[in-house]
């Protein structure tokens, strides 16, 4: 059997491995290869790569899936997973051919990588686990994965599908076409299910809950031939969705957005219809966020109401909600932007506030906005309000001197609709006069003390003390005495 080596950025040169997953017996103690596919965003968020001997997993897996080795260190499934169902900390391995092709398992599924490697005799340099230093995938490993995918697609013969059940339901799974009395083994996410859940070859799950979602596989007796596999998704039917429509860009159009009040735990699809009179309008889905679409107005000033119906459907049921409104009622601009508040020089009670129209409002000249300004000092709870019919600035003239203020602005179309939310709050403090510096007395006091380091004043000399509080006349006498003493000290030095 030919082999090819692969230099992997994580682990360096990998040992020889078979380059096709054929129907031949393993050549050595472990038939396998290194699964060192680094995780990328398609498979999960973690850039870890894992290695292990896939010979432990001689079970046929799903189309497009990778056989995932049973590492406890990985969250998620232990059997093959497909596409976006791979959990974020999942990882992938490489599939091996079915044992019926002549390849026998060497080591059964193990609880942790260490046992796996110990039993298998993995060389030290290739033991499983580890973080990748370089997230760049190895090209040859990726190519190998592609080969595996093709192989899996061509050779998978088993049914595999997704089964949706309600929380609390009783679920019975049949092992494909196996008779009721056939000897089978069921696994859930790679872990054997004990016989207490079996009724013959049927798997019975009573009162299922969310934790029982996962991959269920049924293997025939001792041959360990995979006979049936399904992915059970436990969830609930959708509740009535919450729908909101708003025009923040009048007169261009409006958007509707929605969400479910509680999760269903299974995939949902949403369908929205917009009717205006007898006309059905197109609601173009936004790329982001996904739960939003927008409609362009074809008419303005219409008295005919818009009727928007949102239907949410999943495998367990459907629900819908309808909104009816007229053109003017849903107009609500976005908050004003770039709010700035500045003190006014030499004015201790003024603050200058300016802002801009929201950038989403398409034509403020033709559809001008009016504004509502509110402000208060931080130390008080009561807001002051000012409504401004035009302009994007205002001077507050009754601010408390020296107090920090919080200021916000809201916007509304001059004639229709409702007020926007409040803008981001800005803080400002009115101008205050700078305190005067104290200079003369302090300097002289310091001079006196430094120049008399080698001079002891006569005991009768009065040393001035500002805290003495003896009055201005006595202070003048002290200054004179101080100067004399300083001069005396200089002479002696």
């Amino acid at each position: 059997m030919s082999s090819q080596s692969c230099v992997h950025p994580c682990f360096g040169e990998l040992p020889a491995r078979p380059d096709e997953f054929a129907r031949s017996a393993p050549a050595g103690p472990g038939f396998g290869f290194i699964s060192s596919i680094p995780m990328d965003h398609k498979w999960g968020s973690s850039p870890r790569c894992w290695r292990g001997w896939c010979s432990a997993h001689l079970r046929r897996s799903l189309l497009l899936s990778f056989s995932v080795i049973g590492f406890d260190g990985c969250l998620g499934e232990k059997e093959g997973r497909a596409g976006t169902d791979v959990p974020n900390d999942g990882w992938c391995g490489l599939k091996l051919p079915d044992p019926s092709d002549g390849v026998q398992p060497i080591v059964g599924n193990q609880k942790n990588p260490r046992d796996f490697d110990d039993k298998l005799g993995t060389p030290p340099g290739l033991r499983t686990g580890g973080e990748m230093a370089n997230p760049v995938p190895s090209a040859c490993c990726v190519v190998l994965a592609a080969v595996v995918v093709v192989y899996a697609q061509r050779h998978s013969q088993q049914d595999s599908h997704i089964q949706y059940e309600r929380v609390g339901a009783d679920v019975t799974m049949k092992c494909g076409s196996m008779d009721w009395d056939a000897a089978v083994t069921w696994t859930a996410n790679g872990t054997d299910i004990d016989d207490s859940h079996l009724n013959g070859s049927y798997l019975i799950l009573k009162n299922v809950d969310l934790t029982q979602s996962g991959q269920y596989s049924c293997y025939e007796g001792s041959s360990w031939h995979l006979k049936y596999q399904t992915y059970l998704r436990v969830g609930v039917p959708p509740k009535e969705p919450v729908l909101m429509c708003r025009s923040n860009n009048y007169p261009k159009g409006f958007y509707c957005s929605w969400h479910l009040p509680s999760p269903t735990y299974i995939p949902n699809s949403f369908n929205i219809s917009v009717i205006h009179g007898t006309r059905e309008m197109v609601c173009e889905k936004d790329i982001f966020p996904k739960n939003r679409c927008h409609i362009r107005y074809l008419q303005l000033f219409s008295t005919v109401k818009y009727k928007v119906t949102l239907t949410v459907t999943n495998a367990l049921g459907k629900n819908s909600t309808t909104l009816t409104f007229d053109e003017f009622a849903i107009v609500k601009p976005d908050p004003p932007e770039s709010v700035v508040a500045k003190p006014v020089p030499n004015n201790p009670r003024r603050l200058e506030v300016s802002w801009q129209n929201p950038s989403s409002w398409p034509d403020p000249e033709s559809f001008p906005l009016k504004f509502f300004l509110r402000y208060r000092p931080l130390i008080l709870d009561q807001w002051q309000h000012v409504e401004l019919s035009d302009g994007t600035s205002h001077t507050i003239t009754d601010a408390y001197a020296g107090k920090e203020y919080i200021i916000q602005v809201a916007a509304k179309d001059n004639d229709i609709g409702t007020w926007s939310d409040w803008s981001v709050a800005v803080h400002a403090t009115p101008w205050t006069e700078e305190p005067k510096h104290l200079t003369t007395e302090v300097q002289i006091t310091e001079t006196t003390s430094t120049s008399t380091s080698s001079f002891m004043p006569p005991p009768t000399t009065k040393i001035c003390d500002k805290g003495a509080g003896v009055g201005s006349g006595a202070v003048a006498v002290c200054w004179t005495a101080g100067l004399v003493l300083a001069a005396y000290g200089v002479l002696f030095i």
Partner: protein, 195 residues
């Protein structure tokens, strides 16, 4: 056209537009109150849907942004002349029905009729300034409506007031567009993307 371009004409144009906007806003505010009174006095459900009625001008318009100034004025004038006739009919019907016992609806209708008449005059002035001249009224009057049942009269009245409320908003927008340009331009006043 030369007269429309003089500074005094521009000032007058701007003044007429500003006053027209204030008039339209007042009309809208008053017709909103009048609608509440009307619905209550006529025993109607405020949410009732009324189909378009012949002779009642519809405010809804496609491609509003692409209209020329002159077109806006002409559309407004035709609409408010029709509203003037319709409100007069409604007032007459109310008086026939309730006589002098109606202390609320009748006076409110009369006040609204007065405002609409004033607005018509205003629009005619603007058109004169545009040197277009207002079209003759005889040609714009709707034909006499067929005799309606009492309930049909009520529904038509509801439609009239609702459309008048929409027209008042539209007129504010139209006059603002007009005021952005001087008199006599008649230019299309469009938004960056057509509405």
């Amino acid at each position: 056209m030369a007269a429309a371009d003089t500074p005094s004409a521009t000032l007058r144009h701007h003044d007429l537009c500003s006053r027209g906007i204030r008039l339209a806003r007042k009309m809208r505010s008053d017709v909103t109150d009048l609608l509440d009174i009307y619905v209550e006095r006529q025993g109607l459900d405020a949410s009732i849907s009324v189909a378009a009625v012949d002779g009642v001008p519809t405010a809804a318009v496609e491609r509003w942004a692409e209209q020329t100034g002159t077109q806006r004025l002409l559309d407004n004038l035709a609409a408010y002349r029709a509203f003037r006739t319709l409100l007069a009919q409604m007032l007459e019907e109310q008086r026939e029905l309730l006589g002098d016992t109606d202390a609320e609806l009748g006076p409110a209708l009369a006040a609204m009729l007065l405002q609409v008449s004033a607005f018509v005059y205003h629009l005619e002035e603007l058109l004169e300034l545009e040197s277009r001249g207002a079209p003759a009224e005889e040609g714009s009057e709707p034909p006499a409506p067929p005799r309606l049942s009492l309930f049909e009269q009520k529904l038509r009245g509801l439609r009239v007031l609702r459309e008048l409320a929409q027209w008042a908003v539209r007129s504010v927008r139209d006059l603002r567009q007009l005021s952005k340009h001087g008199p006599g331009s008649g230019a299309a006043l469009g938004l960056p993307e057509s509405q």
